[in-house]
Symmetry: C3
Subunit: 470 residues, 3 copies
C-alpha cells in the first residue's frame, strides 16, 4: 500500500513533537549500516552508531551520532549488528554491555556452508546473555534503504526469545514490512541460505529439459536436415528455425509431463510390493517427487511454445509457397482437389485433442500459482493435480498418436533406420498411462487404499483405535 514512499518521512516530525523517539543502535558504519540507519531515521527512530573509530568512520546519515561500541550499546535496548561475520569476535569482549539487549543479526554469507553454524547462532554463542534475533537478511540493500517495494514486503525473523522477536517485529512493522515468524534460532541457517539460493528446486528439471531438448534437436537434425542433404542434395537447413523447433518442443513437453506422473506410479507399486507405507522411499524417488511441480511447469512452457510455433505455420514463407505450388500442380494436371472424409476426421481429431489437452494444461498451471493453490482445500488441490493431470496426459498422448496415425507404416519414416521422434516420445507416457490403468483396477486399488490408510502387511494394527486419516 505504501505506494508513495515519501509519506512516511512526514511522521517523525509530528511524533517527535509529542514524545522523544526511541533510540536504536547500529554496530557498523558500512554500506548496510548507513542504509539501515537512514531508513530508521525516516521512520521516526533516533539512531546511534557504534564504531571502532567513532571520529573517522566516514559519512553518516545527518542526525545520527557515532560513539564507541560500548557507549552506543548502553544507549539502546536494540542493537543491529551490521558487521561481517569475520569481525564478530570482538563482540565477545562487549558481553557485559550487551547483557539483556536484543541483538539483530542481519548478516549473510557469500556462499552456503562456509561455516559450521549459522551467523546468528555464532553470535548467540559469543554473547550468551543477549537475545539474538535473525532478521532483515532476506531483503536487498535497495529495499532496506528505500522501504518495502512489491516483491520485498516480507521480513522473516527467528530467535529464541519471544519478547525479543516481538520488539524486532514492531520495528519492522513501523518500517512498513510484513513480519513472518520462522520459529527459534535454529531456523537461522535456513534464513541465511535463502538469499543465496538461485532456484535450487528448478535445477534438476531444467537440466532434464535442456538435455532432452539438445538430444532431440541433434537427433532430428541428423534424421531430417542432414539425411536430406546427404541423400538428395537438398539444403533444407532453414527448417532448423521453425519446423525442427516445433518437433522438439512437443516431444520434450510430453516426455516431461509424463515424468511428472511416473514417480507417483512407481511409489504406488513400491508400496504395494512392500505392503506398507511406513518405509521410506529411496532417495532418488523422494527427490524426483519433490520436483514434480517444476517438471510440470517446464513442460507447460514447452507446450506453450509448441502452440505458438504451430499457430504461425500458415504465415511461413515456406508453407505459403508449398500450398501455392500444390494448387498450381493440381491445375496443371487438370485435377480438382478431391475431399477425403477420413483425412478430415483425422486432422480435426488431431487438432481438437491438442487444444483440449493444452486447455487443461493451462488450467493445471493456473492452479499451481501460489495464491490459487493456497485457496484450495487439499482435496480440491489433489483432484485438480491428479485427476485433471492424468486427463491432460491422456489427451496429449492421444494427440501424439493421432499425429502419427499410419505414418509408422511407411518405409520413408525410417531414414538411416532411425525411429521418428514422435514414436520415441510416446514410450514414457504410454508406460505411465498403462501402469496407472493397472492401479485403477479394483483389486489393486483396494489394496493400495488400505495401505495408505495405515494398514501394514507385517504388523497388525490395534483395531480398537482405528487408524484416523485426515
Amino acid at each position: 500500500m505504501s505506494k508513495n514512499p515519501e509519506s512516511v518521512s512526514l511522521c517523525p516530525l509530528n511524533s517527535a513533537a509529542a514524545t522523544e523517539p526511541e533510540p536504536l543502535c547500529i554496530f557498523g558504519t558500512g554500506d548496510l549500516g548507513r542504509s539501515l540507519g537512514q531508513r530508521l531515521l525516516q521512520s521516526g527512530y533516533r539512531v546511534v552508531y557504534g564504531s571502532r573509530k567513532p571520529h573517522s568512520c566516514g559519512p553518516l546519515p545527518p542526525g545520527t551520532q557515532a560513539m564507541s561500541h560500548s557507549a552506543a550499546a548502553q544507549s539502546a535496548a536494540l542493537v543491529f549488528i551490521c558487521i561481517h561475520r569475520e569481525h564478530y569476535n570482538f563482540l565477545e569482549t562487549l558481553a557485559p554491555q550487551l547483557q539483556g539487549k536484543v541483538l539483530v543479526d542481519v548478516s549473510n554469507n557469500l556462499k552456503k556452508n562456509l561455516y559450521p553454524e549459522a551467523n546468528a547462532e555464532y553470535l548467540q554463542r559469543l554473547v550468551p546473555g543477549a537475545h539474538v534475533v535473525k532478521a532483515f537478511n532476506t531483503l536487498s540493500a535497495w529495499t532496506l534503504q528505500n522501504g518495502p517495494s512489491d516483491a520485498n514486503r516480507q521480513v522473516y525473523l527467528c530467535g529464541n526469545s519471544a519478547e525479543a522477536k516481538q520488539a524486532v517485529a514492531e520495528t519492522a512493522t513501523k518500517l512498513g514490512f510484513t513480519v513472518l515468524d520462522r520459529g527459534s534460532l535454529c531456523a537461522a541457517r535456513e534464513l541465511e541460505d535463502f538469499p543465496l539460493q538461485l532456484f535450487p528446486e528448478w535445477r534438476l528439471p531444467l537440466r532434464i529439459a535442456v538435455g532432452l531438448t539438445a538430444f532431440f534437436y541433434f537427433y532430428l537434425l541428423i534424421r531430417i536436415v542432414i539425411y536430406t542433404y546427404v541423400q538428395k542434395g537438398d539444403d533444407i537447413s532453414f527448417r532448423i528455425m521453425v519446423s525442427l523447433a516445433n518437433k522438439v518442443f512437443p516431444i520434450v513437453s510430453l516426455i516431461m509431463l509424463s515424468l511428472c506422473y511416473l514417480p507417483g506410479v512407481i511409489a504406488a507399486f513400491l508400496q504395494l510390493y512392500r505392503g506398507t507405507k511406513y518405509r521410506r522411499f529411496p532417495d532418488w524417488l523422494d527427490r524426483w517427487m519433490l520436483c514434480r511441480k517444476q517438471l510440470g511447469l517446464l513442460a507447460l512452457a514447452f507446450a506453450f511454445l509448441h502452440v505458438l510455433y504451430t499457430l504461425i505455420i500458415p504465415q511461413r514463407y515456406y508453407v505459403r509457397n508449398r500450398i501455392a505450388g500444390s494448387t498450381i500442380l493440381l491445375i496443371k494436371e487438370n485435377k480438382t482437389s478431391a475431399f477425403d472424409s477420413a483425412l478430415a476426421w483425422r486432422s480435426d481429431s488431431f487438432l481438437s485433442t491438442g487444444i483440449l489437452g493444452f486447455g487443461l494444461y493451462v488450467l493445471l498451471g493456473i492452479t499451481s500459482l501460489p495464491s490459487v493453490s493456497n485457496a484450495l482445500s487439499w482435496r480440491e488441490f489433489s483432484f485438480v493435480q491428479s485427476k485433471l493431470g492424468y486427463l491432460t496426459l491422456f489427451f496429449c498422448t492421444l494427440h501424439t498418436y493421432l499425429y502419427g496415425w499410419n505414418k509408422f507404416l511407411k518405409p520413408t519414416s525410417y531414414p538411416w533406420y532411425t525411429l521418428p521422434g514422435y514414436l520415441l516420445c510416446l514410450i514414457v507416457p504410454t508406460v505411465v498411462l498403462v501402469l496407472k490403468f493397472l492401479l485403477l483396477l479394483p483389486c489393486m486399488d483396494r489394496s493400495l487404499t488400505r495401505i495408505r490408510q495405515g494398514w501394514d502387511r507385517t504388523n497388525k494394527v490395534d483395531d480398537g483405535e482405528k487408524s484416523l486419516l485426515a
Copy 2:
C-alpha cells in the same frame, strides 16, 4: 522457504543439548497419530502417546513412549486428540486429568452434517474443563508427516481460549506452518467442512456450462450435420470435432458472460422498484450473485478454447482443401478474385472486436487471481470488474453481431425453421446491455445512487447525522 525439508531435523540435537524439550501428548496410535508424532519429534518436541493398550499398540516412532491415557495426559500441557469422533466418549471419564489442558482436535468426518455439532464442540462438551482448539485438520496426512509443502503451508485454528490458541499456534509455527486464527470454537464446523468440500461454489456454474454446452451441441448437430445428411445425403460428421465445437464454445461463453452481469442489473431494478436497499434479495438472486466470479471464469475458459479453435482453422485439412478448391474453380471459370472493400471492412472489424474483447477478458481473469485482487483497493477492483467487465461484454456482443451481419436475411439460415445458434446466444447479452444502458440514464442513475447511499423511500433518515458511506 523451507525448500530443504531435511534442514529442520538437525535442530533437535542442538536444542536438546541446551534444554529439555517440551513434552507433548498424543491420544491415539493410528496412522495420523504416528505421522504427527514423527513430525513433532523432528521439530524438537518430546512425544508421549496415550493408548488403551499401551503395550500392544503397534509400531510407534522411535524415541516416543506409550502410556495409559491418564498417565500420558498428566505428563503434558497439550494433548493432540487423534481419535475418530465415534470413540470420543471415553474422554468424559478422563475429565479430571484433562482439567486445564489444551486439547487439539485434529479430526475430520467422512461426510458433511453427519453429526448435529462439530467434533470440537462435542469434545468441549465432554471435557468442559479443558481448552479445546480445532487445528491441523485442513492438512493432508502427507503434509503432517513430511512438513509443509507448497499448497499446504496454512494451518487454520479456532477455539475459545486465547492462551490455548497461542500455545497451539506456537507449535504449528515451530513445525513450519503459517497460522490463521479463525475465531472462536463455533467456527469449528466450518473448518471441519473445509477438507470435505470439492469446489462447492463451482457446482452451479459448472452445471450451467455443461447444460448449455450439451443443448447447443445437439441443437447444432441437428441443424447442421443431420439436416445436411437428410436433405442432401452428404456425410459431414467430421465437423463435430472442430466446426461444431467452435460454434458451441463461443455461444456458451457469451451467454455465461452475460449471466455474470444479469443479476446485478436485476438487483438494481429490484432496489429501484422497492425504493430501499434494506430489504433482502430473494434467495435465488443471492445465490446467483455469489457465483458470478465462477460464471465469469468458466466463460473465460470457453472463450480461450474458442480462440484456440479459431486460430487453428487454416491448418485444417478441410479448410485447406476448400481454399484450394475455390482457387481452382476461379481459374477454371477464368475469373480473377474480385476484391470487395465492404467485405474486408466487415471481416476485419469482426476479428478486431473479437481480439479486443478477448484481451479485456484475459485482463478480467488476471485481476480475479487472489493475489492480484488482494492488492487492489475496493474502488480499483470494482472499476475493473464492473466498467471493464461491461466493456468486455459490449465488445464480445458486437463481435457476434458482426459475425451474423446479414446472414439472418438468407432463407438458407433457417433449416427446419430453426434459428441459427448465434442469434439464440445474442438474446441474453442484448437484454443485459439494454437494461444497463437504461440504468445509466441520469434519472435512473440518480435514484439508484440515493438508494445505495441509504436513502429509503418509506423511512426518512435523520438528516443531522447524514448517512456515511465507505
Copy 3:
C-alpha cells in the same frame, strides 16, 4: 473459506446461551453504522447505538438499542465512530466519557488532501484520553454488511496503543477478516487515501501508452492509408481495423519495453559519473524507476494483442483474397512458385525470434504476479527481471530488425519522406542495448560494482569495518 456466509449467523445463539455477549458501541445511525451493527450482531456481539436523537433515528437492526452518546459510550469499551469528519467536533465535549475507551475511526473522505491531518489524527486530538485506532475503512460497505468476500478479506489498522489495536484486531478476526497492522497512527492518512486511489502508479505508464498509440496510429494512417488514397486513388481504409493495429501495437510494445530498462541504464551511468551511490537521483528518474513494472506489464498487454492480431492474419478476407489472387496470377503467367531459401530463412527466423521473445515476456509477466514474486528470493527476482528481461528485449529487437531486413533500402518505403514505423521504434531499444553492452565491459562493470558496494570516490571508507552488503 467462509464460502457460506450464513454459517456465522448460527453461532450467536449457542454462545449467547453460554455467556452474555460483549457489548460494542456505534456512534452514528447512518448507512454505515447500520450495516456495521447488523454484521456485529450476526457475529455474536451486543450492539448499542449512540445518537443525537435516540428516539427518532430511523430504522435500526432488530435487537440493538439507541441511547444518547454519553450513555452509549459508558456501556462499552470499544466505540465505532461512524460519523462524517465534519461532525466530529461534538466529540470534544464527550472527552470525559470517552477517557480510556478504544475509538475505531472507520471514516473516509471524498477527496485526497481535503484536510491538513488524517481523520483519525484529528479524532485523537479532539479526545486525547482515548485510544484511537484507524480500521475497516478500506472495506466496501457491501463487505461490512455481508462479511468478507474474495477480494475483501484484509483489514488494515493502525494506532498508537498496542492494546487498543489488539482489541480491534480480535473483533475483526471474529468478523472473519484477516488483520494487517500498519503501525502507528501516523499511517492513518495512508489508510484513508487507499480507498480513494484509482491505480495511481498506472497513470504515467497509461498516459505514455495512449500517447504513443495515438501518435503512431495517425502517423501510419497518413503514411499508408491517406498516402495511397492521394497518390493512387485507392481506398484501403479497411486496413485501419487490423493491419494498422498490428503495426502500432508491436511498435508501442517494443518502445515501452525498452523504456522499462532505460532508467536503470541511465542510473548506472549517473552513478559512474558521480562516483558515488549516496547522492539522490533526480526526481524524474526516481518516478520513472518506480513505474517500470507498470510500463513492462502494459508493454506485455500490447505484445499479447500483437500476437493475436498476427495469428488471425490468415483468416482475413483481404489476405485470403490476395493469396488466391497471387496464385491465379502465377498460373496465368504460367510460372511455378520458385522457392527462395534465403527468404525461408529470414521468414522463419523472424517468426522464431518473435515467439521466443513473447515466451520470455510471458514468463516475466508471471513472475511479477504478487504471489509468485513473494515466493522468490531477492536474488531470484532480480535474476528473472534483469537477466531474462534483457534477453527478452534482445529477442524482440532482433525480431523487429528481421522484420525490416532490407526493406529500408527500397525507395517505396519512404512515402512523403517519412520513415517506416519499425525504424522509428528501433531507436530506443537499440540505444538501451548498446548502453547496456557498454556497462557489461569489464572496466565499467568493475567500477559500478565497487560504487554499488558503498565505495565513494570522494570519501574513503574506513577499511577496518568493511562495507557489508546484503
